[in-house]
Assembly symmetry: C2
Homo-oligomer: 204 residues x 2
DNA sequence: GTCTATAGAAGGATAGAC
DNA sequence: GTCTATCCTTCTATAGAC
């Protein structure tokens, strides 16, 4: 499916993408069926395949859309800004994404968990280039003593791990905290404190 | 399949479990086929079903075995020990598990990602009880000023997120670091530093 | 554009020979 | 205990009416 033209086409296209995101993010690619997606979209199965060439095409477009937004928060780290504030702001952007786009986070996590066969090109290309660039920046900040001595790549991985955990492992956290509780409730304060302490210049 | 008796039965049982762990952890339950498991175990598909009642039975036994070992490191936190040393030791045990049992970690992660339908009982029961107990201990340590003021549940979630990330997102980290690099290489030092700073008593 | 009906392939499980 | 052959269900995808 290329660019949809009419209003109804755009609407159905969007309905399918949203339903597919819901289903794929919960059950994975193989675990999801066109019937599930069709039911959730309120369309018939053949109608899905009128809008998309195949099940795989739906999944592929979902991933493509995701990767664009996924990489944006990291790109916004400003070399001219105050180091600790820049990194803390990045943490908060990532946490906000986990809260606002948990399905996207889980879809991405599922892909990586399986060895990232479908997004290997993105990771080795666009993402690696950006991470290399920001890691060099963080290394320079640390060398200048503006933040504590931290391994740049591991710092970035830690930010990913800690923020995405609130989307990807949401089910587990809710079961442990008790059902009324929102796990992201205290996350903001906790992660702010964690990264402020980690990044404080030496000696402490 | 209950307890296998003969030597050959034990051997095949183990071959199947190992093959199933490999396949299930990479492709998820629905994404895995008995053919894949049989091929990897070097047995025929019907022979698998001589040892196990069904595909689901294999998966169930895999999960049951996993959960026992999964909970062990947390249990070993000693209320009588030195708080920071105890928590740091827990971090290292968890990191070691991620390194030694990455397939188990990914199998577990996949279950949570899907909403944990098959292990909900374990999480709400055994795991929650243990986490509640250790969270109370950490809260007492913080109240006594022996560690910094930290939210106990978020501390535990952070340990899980940071250590398991090295197993669950291994593919992504390798692609970004470059293929020769082992992501867990610098992890030990990075996480030690991170948690030492986080747990340092106030004021810093 | 949307539906019902169905073709065709894949996968879990069983029958039955050895 | 292990295999080949096969049943039966599920799922993707298409045909064709409206």
């Amino acid at each position: 499916m290329t660019a949809p033209r009419t209003r109804i086409q755009r609407r159905n296209h969007r309905l399918i993408m949203d339903a597919a995101l819901e289903v794929f993010s919960q059950h994975g690619y193989r675990g999801s069926t066109l019937d599930q997606i069709a039911a959730r979209a309120g369309l018939s199965k053949p109608n899905l395949l009128y809008y998309f060439e195949s099940k795989e095409a739906i999944h592929r477009e979902l991933l493509t859309d995701l990767l664009d937004t996924w990489i944006a928060p990291l790109r916004r780290i400003d070399p001219a800004g105050e180091p600790r504030a820049e990194i803390l702001a990045y943490v908060h952007r990532k946490l906000a994404m986990a809260r606002e786009y948990p399905r996207e986070s889980r879809l991405f996590a599922g892909e990586i968990l399986q060895g990232a066969p479908r997004i290997e090109g993105f990771i080795r290309g666009e993402l690696k280039t950006l991470v290399d660039e920001k890691a060099a920046l963080i290394r320079a900040w640390a060398a200048a003593g503006r933040i504590g001595a931290v391994q740049p790549y591991h710092l970035i991985f830690s930010i990913w791990a800690l923020t995405q955990h609130y989307a990807d492992f949401d089910a587990q956290m809710r079961m442990i905290l008790g059902d009324g509780q929102d796990p992201t409730e205290g996350a903001e304060a906790h992660l702010t404190r964690l990264f402020e302490r980690l990044l404080a210049p030496e000696p402490r």
